[in-house]
């Protein structure tokens, strides 16, 4: 008999025992170790992927910040350039304004100097004219300038019309008449008396006459009464003379540099 049934049973039991033993000592530990390793590798791969994702995110963040920085840098550079150009333009404008102010100041000083010079020339001219006239009249006609001027002034007063005389000393609601006679030189008593007599004789009411000396007066004699002024003047002659001298000065004055920051005033 090839089959021994006791051995069959024993071998079946042996097989079951071996199956349990190998499951306990072989399959389960080995498969658990493999599973553990796979889990560990999976975790490591997940960690690595997470790290890669974090690195990619950080890189993206870095690139974004870098781009922002570049853009900010370009913006700041452009802003600085614009501000520098604006400041340059402002400085140029300020310099131009300062130059213009200096030029205007120089021009004003020049004008003042010209006016001062003109006044000096006018005063000197008048004095010279009066001195020459006085000397000429004394030497050639044996008469004084003041006397001739007073005589001429009296003749002009007498030549006034009736209407002008009435307007000169008939103010509304006033019964007295104030007359002021101003002259560039001190009138002698005889001329004052002649003038007083002439004025009193030509006016309808008795005026109170007052004499004043005004050295700066260009005219020779003037009469002021109630807003009316009557003068005998050499102002027209002097104005023509001043115009002639002014033209001469203008011709002699060199043209000023337009952008000269510190022009020197021209002295004539």
């Amino acid at each position: 008999m090839l089959i021994d049934w006791f051995t069959v049973g024993a071998q079946a039991v042996n097989f079951l025992i071996l199956m349990w033993l190998l499951k306990r000592f072989l399959y389960k530990p080995v498969l658990d170790a493999i599973d553990g390793r796979e889990q560990r590798l999976l975790r490591q791969m997940q960690d690595m992927q997470a790290a890669q994702a974090a690195a990619a995110q950080e890189r993206e963040e870095f690139e974004r910040k870098n781009a922002e920085f570049e853009q900010q840098h370009a913006t700041l550079l452009e802003q600085a350039t614009t501000e520098a150009q604006a400041a340059r333009q402002q400085l140029l404008e300020a310099a131009r304004a300062e130059a213009a102010a200096l030029r205007a100041q120089w021009q004003e000083a020049l004008d003042r100097e010209q006016q001062s010079l003109s006044r000096g020339i006018a005063t000197r001219t008048r004095q010279e004219v009066f001195a020459i006239t006085r000397k000429t009249l004394t030497d050639l006609a044996d008469t004084g300038l003041e006397a001739r001027m007073v005589a001429v002034f009296i003749r002009r007063l007498q030549a006034l019309g009736m209407v002008e005389k009435v307007q000169m000393c008939t103010p509304a609601g006033q019964k007295d008449c104030q007359v002021l006679i101003r002259s560039a030189f001190l009138l002698p008593p005889t001329e004052q008396a002649a003038l007083t007599q002439t004025v009193q004789s030509m006016l309808p009411i008795q005026p109170s006459i007052r004499f004043e000396t005004e050295p700066e007066l260009l005219s020779g004699i003037e009469l002021i009464s109630n807003g009316h002024k009557l003068e005998w003047s050499i102002a027209d002659y002097l104005t023509a003379l001043e115009a002639s001298i002014g033209d001469l000065l203008h011709t002699l004055t060199p043209p000023a540099a337009p952008t000269a920051p510190h022009p020197e005033p021209a002295h004539v």
């Binding site: 090839l2 089959i3 021994d4 049934w5 006791f6 051995t7 069959v8 049973g9 024993a10 071998q11 079946a12 042996n14 097989f15 079951l16 025992i17 071996l18 199956m19 349990w20 033993l21 190998l22 499951k23 000592f25 072989l26 399959y27 530990p29 080995v30 498969l31 658990d32 170790a33 493999i34 599973d35 553990g36 390793r37 889990q39 560990r40 590798l41």
Partner: protein
Amino acid sequence: MHLSSDELIFWQYGFAKLNLTIVTTWGLMLALTFGAWLITRKLSDDIFISRWQHVLEVIVLGVKAQIEEVGLSQSRKYISFIGTLFLFIVVSNLAAVIPGYEPPTGSLSTSTALAICVFVAVPLFGIRELGVLGYLKSYLHPTPVMLPFNIISEISRTLALAIRLFGNVMSGGMIIAILLTITPLFFPVVMNVLHLLTGMVQAYIFSILATVYIAAATRGEGA
């Protein structure tokens, strides 16, 4: 000369006996268990592992892959049974290189015991997956007319499993023994190598057929 190691009895008490087959099986069980314990007591789930752990992982994963290739996707449920079948038969057959060793698989009692284990395990796995009715319905597949043929097939394939393993292993040992008496110098060595190959192939065939039967039972496809 004896055909089976069952005939060499060391101890007997009535029906119970202790023959060479049982003793050799115990020795193999001890070697397998001790070897597995020796290696697996220092298992590591790290990336760097010992060479012996590599060997065990190759064996276990190889068996697991074979089971999955046949169609049992949940291979962990079946690896204890099928893997033990394979390892026991392989070690039994390969140990034939040891002089004086007689493989227990060369005993019809052992191969019958293994075939009976398969015969019992197949419906158990099938019932566990499909339930009792679901599994019994598989005998009516594809038509109820096939019921007797399916039952006959169930028995005959179990018988075939037992006889195939026994015949191949026993014949290999027998041929070597006969050749030793005729041409004792060179030819038995070649035959011994061939016998190792045959033993390996038989272990593979036995375990893969068991896997196919279990796969068919768990899918309800009948015998």
